[in-house]
Symmetry: C2
Subunit: 111 residues, 2 copies
């Protein structure tokens, strides 16, 4: 990955902004939430995240791997098998997700 000036600047900002930056994007938190429930394979994620395209899922998983939030385990079998799971750094995001869910339930979804 090429490091632009944008990245260099952004890496040095405050904790709140950095966390938001990682969680930004339409699918990221949903992926983490699903993986928090247990190890999952690519197609399992693709099904549970209804509507995501394989390209986007692949991109998100890859950047989460670079961030050290998910681990990608490959098994040399036929058919090929790849499993995704959260690191400790990833599991700790659950508390953030929980507070977002609590807020969303109270203020955004009245059901």
């Amino acid at each position: 990955m090429e490091l632009t000036e944008y990245h260099l600047v952004e890496k040095s900002i405050c904790p709140v902004a950095r966390t938001a930056q990682i969680l930004g994007g339409k699918w990221t938190i949903l992926i983490i939430r699903d993986l928090a429930a247990g190890v999952k394979r690519f197609n399992q994620l693709e099904r549970s995240l209804q509507g995501i395209s394989p390209k986007t899922l692949s991109e998100r998983l890859r950047s989460l791997e670079e961030e050290g939030i998910v681990i990608r385990q490959t098994f040399a079998e036929a058919p090929p098998r790849v499993e995704y799971l959260l690191t400790e750094k990833g599991c700790d995001l659950v508390s953030v997700i929980d507070s977002m869910r609590a807020y969303g339930k109270q203020w955004l979804c009245n059901k």
Copy 2:
């Protein structure tokens, strides 16, 4: 604001995603964080959020107002004065911000 199909669909998703949607964007949480510290004027925000353009600040404040998270108070004076403050819905976001800060401090900024 024109409601595209995109918006209609997005409004109905889960609490976690809805919260993330509101907090997404580079500056939104930082604005809320600053307003959580007290009422602020446009230029005060522009200074404390170093690097934000007036256009972006204006856009973000306006959409936060539409979401019912901030209140815009205008005073008919010379020079004109406008103050921004959080609603109760906005104040409740502080707990989310706090958990994001805690995570960021532990995993993203080692200082």
